[in-house]
Amino acid sequence: MNRNDWIKWAGLAAVVITLFLIPAFIKSPYWMLVLTLMWVHIIAAESFRHIVTVGEYSFAHVPLMGMGGYASALLAMKLGLSFWLALPLAVLATAIISFLIYYPCLRTTGTFFFFASFAFGEVMRLCWVRFRYPFGGVGGLSHIPRPEAIHIPGLPTVEFTIVSHTSYYYLILVFMLFSLLIMYLLDRSRLGAIAAAIKESKVLASFVGIRVWRYEMIIFVIASAFAALGGSLYAHYMTLLVPVEFYWGLGIYVCVWAVVGGTGHFAGPIVGTIVFGLARELLRPFPQLVPLIYGLILAATLAFLPQGLISLPEKILPWAKKVLARVKER
């Protein structure tokens, strides 16, 4: 580990510490909500990117996130399970469902994979609308149980009530950091290298002995598991889940956050989600402008910075160095 790496790790540690300290400075429940939801969105965007690393764009991703939420909520409501048990079970259940959805989709690729994934995701989402029992129909599920309080002897009880903004903030922050860590390690692991190879050329990958179908499916299921994690956290935070929240519009937003941030780098979707999250807050007084501003940012990025916002430092650095050199000359 050289000096550059130490700087990077130190910077990262500083950021994480800041995130943990935010609730000490920001007390407004509204901003707590905004930030907490941003953590959920980051999980969604980063797990979406995981699928992009193997070269596909999936529109079943957001519906599967919803499925995680519904599964978790139903396990808690109908079977009386504690949130702490419902969450992992919901993740497992959604992983299995994602396997079933992606199984036929793997016969297609590119734009047609995109549409097939959307079609099957939509069928699943419409099930929530159609079957009032158990999914609650158009009105969805309400009064979803909150997580049970955490009792650690010696420490104050951590409660999750309607006013426990800080508890939820930390809960979801921790899960988000955990998810990001695992996905980062996966990206740097053998699986990530295989995914990159498949993305470059499925044909060549199979001709070096890579079982493309198997690895694509592994990646899809892992990404769906993380999406389900986000969905479950969302469900027990908002205590309300409606089918229309996971329609294709949200799918486009997640895709835009990831693409504008830059799917080439791991941190790209994080940047994208934060930028658009802030933009949305700035545009609160002008809700009609939101699609327009989003569209402009997307168009500008595709035209001038196709690798996403995350590539901005790379582009500016050589230019900045030149300027610095000229200044030094003087």
Binding site: L185, R190, E200, S201, V203, L204, S206, F207, V208, I210
Partner: protein, 261 residues
């Protein structure tokens, strides 16, 4: 008695009304270098595609070491030791030369996901070992100085060499090369010819499609000639060169004689 490594029996492939290859049969023996020539559209690449599982044959069978491998998928064939290069350079464009060849070692790299996930010391050792083995391979084919160049930024000649290196990297017993010398300058051609000999000396059997007959004939033990999907001649380079059928096939159909280059 030398049993053939590869046996092709009555292989036929029809696309709708078009018959690309028809009733092809031949044997390949261990340690041979066999050339495959024929005018454009004779079905050479189709033959490769059918043998390597790109599409199933309409009729016929393929046997490898006595086992029926007809219609087996590409990754399975690579596992069994059959590797193939592509006419149009197929590379992992945005990966470096080293990463490209490391990928080709996929089947020979131990799968230890947890170790690779957490970058345990044990895993790092294995990765180092794979990288060293890969660098040896790169040194062999002359790409070691460009190990960190992205594949898409290589010159055409080196891209073809990388394609060849990837194919060899899978440790095959049977190497199928599709026009490895296409559009290369004489210096690169000699380099690849030498590589083919080196590879053969390691005991690998080679089947080569090539249009450049001047470069192909000197390195082959045998030549097969395809025309309009059928085998019209087979023999030593000398026999085939003087065969009137072969000459007629080239003069009658699309002429692609190497002297023109």
């Amino acid at each position: 008695m030398n049993a053939p490594l590869l046996e092709v029996r009555n292989l036929t492939k029809r696309f709708g009304g078009l018959t690309a290859i028809s009733q092809l049969s031949f044997d390949l023996y261990r340690g041979e270098i066999v050339g495959l020539i024929g005018p454009n559209g004779a079905g050479k690449t189709t033959l490769f595609n059918v043998i390597t599982g790109f599409y199933p044959p309409t009729e016929g069978k393929v046997f490898y070491k006595g086992e029926d491998i007809t219609g087996f998928k590409p990754h399975k064939l690579v596992q069994m030791g059959i590797a193939r290069s592509f006419q149009l350079t197929t590379l992992f464009d945005n990966l470096s030369v080293l990463q490209n060849v490391v990928m080709s070692r996929h089947l020979h790299t131990e799968v230890d996901f947890l170790g690779s996930l957490f970058h345990t010391p044990g895993n790092r050792e294995k990765e180092k070992a794979t990288e060293m083995r890969t660098m040896e391979l790169l040194k062999l084919t002359g790409l070691d100085t460009q190990w960190d160049v992205l594949a898409k930024n290589l010159s055409h000649g080196y891209q073809k060499t990388l394609n060849f290196t990837i194919t060899v990297g899978t440790d095959p017993e049977l190497l199928m090369l599709d026009e490895p010398l296409c559009a290369l300058n004489p210096e690169r051609i000699t380099a690849i010819q030498r590589l083919i000999f080196t590879v053969r000396d390691k005991g690998i059997t080679i089947l080569v499609i090539e249009h450049n007959m001047k470069a192909l004939f000197p390195i082959c033990d045998r030549i097969m000639v395809l025309d309009a999907g059928m085998k019209i001649a087979e023999g030593t380079p000398k026999e085939v060169g003087g065969n009137p059928e072969v000459i007629r096939a080239y003069l009658g159909g699309a002429i692609d004689v190497s002297d023109r280059r």
